[in-house]
């Protein structure tokens, strides 16, 4: 599968997004500061907005899904059961995966924000789309929810997963790192070689680098163990 962004250009007032990039099968992590254009790019990738010029091309992708940063605005069912059914899924399985105590007959908008996020993510992952775009999926999740999400991301057997996030403490193993700054997307390459050049790296990684850790040919998960060994 392949997602190609060919000379995309979009202007909003004085701000503009311009990027050319290619995403293949695997997990891609895109970091960037507030207002750098991550959400706009996620919507372009999902086909929800169109660029002023340039093209979004896909190959081998027949289904795609976008997890929005604010799921509360995208609930369509008046009950949790109806919301799950709107995804074409069985309520019992999804509720178990989501790990929330609410019942099928409850109003989804009475859930806490973290619980609603869990429900929406459980639906999206159960749908197994070829192209999965996650815009700030960790926001509002507690640590158990974050670990569960990492597991779901890592367990995807096929397809392209693009993860836009500020998350700093719980990260899944990802294949490629990208950075977004001022509407421009930069590829840092495969994670194994990219960590030392990662400006938006979580605090524990940047601290380990400052302490002289040689974090190359290593996965994000293995970084945690390496950092512990440096400490010990």
């Amino acid at each position: 599968m392949r997602l190609c962004l060919q000379e995309l250009h979009l202007r909003r007032g004085s701000w503009e997004l311009a990027c050319t990039a290619g995403f293949r099968d695997g997990v891609h992590f895109v970091s960037g500061n507030v207002g750098s254009g991550k959400t706009t790019l996620s919507m372009l990738c999902a086909g929800l907005i169109l660029p002023e010029s340039g093209r979004v091309m896909t190959s081998g992708i027949s289904t795609r899904a976008l997890s929005f940063q604010f799921p509360e605005y995208h609930v369509t069912g008046s009950t949790i059961g109806k919301e799950i059914a709107s995804w074409g899924l069985q309520a019992e399985t999804v509720l178990e995966n989501a790990g929330i105590g609410a019942g099928e007959g409850d109003d989804p908008l009475t859930l806490s924000r973290g619980e609603l996020k869990r429900l929406e993510l459980a639906c999206i992952f159960s749908a197994e789309p070829d192209l999965l775009i996650l815009d700030e999926p960790f926001s509002s999740l507690d640590c158990a929810g974050k670990h569960r999400l990492c597991h779901w991301i890592e367990e995807r057997e096929r397809g392209i997963t693009i993860l836009f996030s500020h998350e700093r403490s719980v990260l899944p193993d990802v294949d490629c790192l990208w950075e977004m700054e001022g509407g421009r997307l930069t590829s840092l390459g495969k994670t194994a070689g990219a960590i030392p050049h990662w400006k938006d790296a979580p605090h524990y990684i940047s601290t380990a680098l400052e302490m002289g850790a040689d974090l190359v040919n290593i996965s994000l998960k293995s970084v945690e163990e390496a950092v512990c060994r440096i400490r010990d």
């Binding site: 960037g32 507030v34 929330i100 859930l111 973290g114 700030e136 929810g145 938006d200 945690e224």
Partner: protein, 222 residues
């Protein structure tokens, strides 16, 4: 101090709690009652029974800055500068003073370029910053932030911390899923099932949470 007595509302049940001036972080699993607790302290919800007082006053008689977990749910104006000015205009501050305060606050939080923008066109993180600036512009006695940090990057959070260190309200109450952020508070509350399951200094509480995923990464690694 913030005093809570015999508080009951929905699933929340807090027989008694006092919080000294300073920063208090609230942590706990999703659905444990953190947001409900913050809403009661902010006065945006009224308890079924019991009381919340801030230095002896009811929340509605106190200047409170409230940053909602749904950042644009509380916004009532379409233009950023109007939203930011609203707490000052509602209390009939002098127009020229309002303009000055709004510009100063926007500059402090690094959002001057957003002032003429329409709120609908902002990113999630930008909406949070506008909401925070609006909460701070009237110099609140109590600032409440409901997982504000979950939408913001490290650079932006540093800027906010730096601003708050220079303009600290007497009370800051915030809930977070970033345990490193919680560890920097003066006092920590742990919620579970609508109750205060534990509380104390971050050092003491996190020592008791050492074997859970709530233990802060910075303490785990360094």
């Amino acid at each position: 101090m913030i005093g809570i007595r015999d508080l009951r509302y929905r699933s929340l049940d807090i027989p008694g709690l006092t919080l000294d001036p300073g920063t208090t972080a609230v942590i706990g699993p999703n659905g444990s009652g953190k947001t409900t607790f913050l809403e009661l302290c902010a006065g945006v919800a009224a308890p079924d029974s019991g009381t919340v007082t801030i230095d002896g006053e009811r929340p509605c008689d106190t200047t409170i800055g409230w940053v909602c977990e749904f950042p644009d749910r509380n916004m009532i104006f379409s233009r950023v500068s109007d939203e930011l000015a609203s707490p000052l205009r509602f209390r009939h501050d002098d127009c020229r003073e309002v303009v000055m305060q709004v510009e100063k606050m926007a500059e402090n939080l690094g959002i001057s370029s957003l002032l003429t923008r329409d709120i609908k066109g902002l990113s999630g993180g930008e909406k949070v910053l506008v909401s925070l600036a609006t909460a701070l512009v009237a110099a609140p006695h109590l600032l409440i932030m409901d997982e504000t940090d979950s939408h913001l990057d490290q650079t932006t959070l540093e800027r906010i911390r730096e601003y708050l260190s220079r303009h600290m309200p007497p009370y800051i109450l915030y809930c977070t899923q970033d345990m490193d952020a919680a560890a920097s508070a003066d006092h920590l509350l742990v919620f579970g099932g609508g109750r205060v399951a534990d509380q104390g200094t971050p050092d003491a509480v996190f020592e008791r949470l050492r074997d859970t995923c709530f233990h802060p990464p910075a303490r785990r690694f360094f």
